[in-house]
């Protein structure tokens, strides 16, 4: 596949993931849309290109790991896992229902392909550091990717991990900040500002790659660069909360609210092009 074809393919994957996310949350009438939609390009690039994973062997000790430390973005992860064949796509429509293996937040013991239980904010990044340290101890070359929410950066533990990862030279740990500028109660800039974000990470001795998290070229290049560099690298991905559905974009009300039938139809129309 040429690099141009790859980018086109990943863009189409991201669009499909968004459609599945909206359908999942609509059918469940529960779940987090805004922060799933903002991460679609990042997750598509990881699961359909960057990560070394095998759906037939989800516990392969040498696999790359992915932890949505912002665990409420579970729908976008589930959509990617289903699309990669970790479990049947029909399972997506059982999200958050009794008996489903798809919990409201990721559960590593229930869902094939989920590498870490997460959802209580601030914790997944540190668990990723533990996985990275285990890889170093074992002489394995896997990478550990952690998706951090910008609101999640309010949690002190994130910065404990940022300190420790540099100290322990965990260069195989790659955090990606889904910087969508909106947290549950409102704009990050009003609830608990985190700027200057680049300077904060740099002050913690991280190398910062700052990208447009919806530009697939930039996402793919940044992931490759982060893997290549032998130092602690964080990707700050500027994104839009609710990306792809006009009436959800940048609105904190869509952090954790399901669409009604009319909103669902409009959203699927906007996400378009679907033979479903």
């Amino acid at each position: 596949m040429s690099s141009q074809e790859l980018i086109q393919d990943l863009k189409e994957r991201a669009r499909q993931l968004r459609r599945d996310v909206v359908e999942m949350v609509y059918r469940a009438q529960s779940g987090h849309l805004g922060g799933s939609l903002s991460a679609a390009e990042i997750v598509a690039a990881l699961y359909f290109h960057q990560m070394r994973i095998d759906p037939q062997n989800p516990q392969d000790p040498n696999r790359d790991r992915f932890i949505p430390s912002k665990g409420h973005a579970a729908p976008i992860l589930y959509a990617a896992l289903a699309a990669r064949g970790f479990f049947p796509r029909e399972d997506l429509w059982t999200l958050r229902q009794v008996g489903s293996h798809l919990q409201g937040h990721p559960d590593m013991r229930k869902t094939p392909g989920v590498d870490m239980t997460s959802g209580s904010l601030g914790q997944g990044f540190a668990a990723g550091l533990g996985m990275a340290l285990a890889g170093k101890l074992n002489g394995q070359d896997y990478q550990v990717y952690c998706l951090l929410g910008d609101g999640e950066l309010n949690e002190g533990e994130i910065w404990e991990t940022a300190m420790a990862a540099v100290h322990f030279k965990a260069h195989n740990l790659i955090p990606i900040v889904d910087f969508n500028k909106v947290q549950l109660d409102g704009p990050v800039s009003e609830i608990m500002p985190i700027e200057p974000l680049r300077a904060k990470w740099e002050a913690f001795n991280w190398h910062v790659l700052e990208i447009d998290g919806h530009d697939m070229n930039q996402v793919v290049e940044a992931l490759a660069e982060a893997r290549r560099l032998d130092r602690c690298v964080v990707i700050i991905a500027h994104t839009v909360k609710g990306k792809g559905v006009s009436f959800m974009e940048n609105r904190h009300q869509w952090h954790g609210q399901p669409p009604n039938e009319e909103q669902y139809r409009r959203a699927m129309e906007e996400l378009g092009g679907g033979q479903e």
Partner: protein, 312 residues
């Protein structure tokens, strides 16, 4: 009587364990000198992570290590392990049932001079109500060493409550440590004393005093608070008809409650609870605090007589 600080026994046991099993890693949060995990760090620096004063972070790093096949022992003061890092312990270790061992140092009042900020009197209550958790409270140096090996071999999260205190070798050297099993230390038919942790020596002393008065107390040491040994408890309740629990913990929701929960269903008998009576304590010498806050030998004897008075 020969004695040893339980923290020293813990440190030595970790070094032995590290030699036997390469997957064992140890994490501490800037109290490695105090908890004695430094002994492991000195011998196995590659497998030792001092994360600084960041207990929450430490707990999650351990979760990640365990998810990749390591057997992490995390070490800090017990009040920090269960409260500061309590959500991390619940969500990222107990819930996914990851193979992390919490070496909860300085249990109970054993960091006595540092005062109520550093005392740990509600940890058992917190951790035993987390599903998937196994809860162990050690009571003497030999048992501490055995318990470290046994919990390392067990696949699942364990809260291992340790102590700063110097404690006499109370148990016979060949006494086995079996997870989930109580130890019958003394036969008796008038009542049963159930004890966990450091107050074991005081409990045996109380049993001696009762014996001099013609009262035969059965003594059961209960190192595993969860899952609790129901069998030994029910048999003791049926055969002696009265139970006193002794623990270095708030009398709410600790060993006493666990025993009461077990007995209420199968063999309800009069019970008395010896422990800290729902109060914060103060700074002071360790033994003086135990005496002042309800864990003296007199307190145990008095509770025994009280429960006998209620026996039908």
């Amino acid at each position: 009587m020969k004695a040893k600080a339980l923290r020293d026994a813990f440190g030595e046991a970790l070094v032995e364990l590290g030699r036997e099993n390469e997957d064992v890693v140890v994490l501490d949060a800037d109290v490695a000198g105090s908890t004695r995990t430094k002994m492991f760090g000195d011998v196995y620096p590659d497998r030792f992570f001092n994360v600084g004063i960041a207990e929450a972070n430490m707990m999650n790093i351990a979760a990640g290590l365990a998810a990749c096949g390591k057997i992490p022992f995390v070490s800090t003061f017990s009040f920090l392990a269960c409260l500061r890092a309590g959500d991390q312990l619940r969500t990222s270790i107990a819930y996914p049932r990851l193979n992390v061992k919490v070496g909860a140092g300085y249990g109970g009042l054993s960091d006595s001079f540092d005062g109520p900020t550093h005392h740990s009197l509600c940890d058992i209550a917190v951790v035993r109500s987390m599903p998937n958790m196994t809860v162990v409270v050690v009571s003497d140096p030999n048992q501490t060493k055995k318990a470290v090996k046994v919990v390392a071999a067990y696949d699942g999260p364990v809260y291992l409550r340790l102590s700063r205190a110097e404690v006499p070798y109370v148990l016979p050297e060949d006494a086995p440590f079996v997870l989930g099993k109580g130890n019958l230390l003394r036969e008796g038919s008038d009542l049963t004393l159930v004890v966990a942790g450091v107050p074991l020596a005081r409990t045996l002393e109380a049993a001696d005093r009762l014996a001099k008065e013609g009262l035969q107390a059965r003594v059961i040491e209960m190192p595993t608070i969860k899952p609790i040994d129901r069998e030994i408890l029910v048999q003791a309740a049926r055969e002696t008809g009265a139970v006193v629990t002794i623990e270095e913990h708030n009398i709410m929701a600790g060993l006493g409650s666990a025993v009461a929960e077990a007995l209420a269903q199968e063999a309800p008998v009069p019970m008395e609870f010896v422990g800290i009576k729902d109060t914060f304590c103060e700074s002071g010498p360790y033994d003086a605090l135990l005496d002042r806050y309800g864990l003296s030998v007199d307190d145990i004897v008095a509770a025994a007589k009280a429960v006998l008075g209620r026996k039908s």
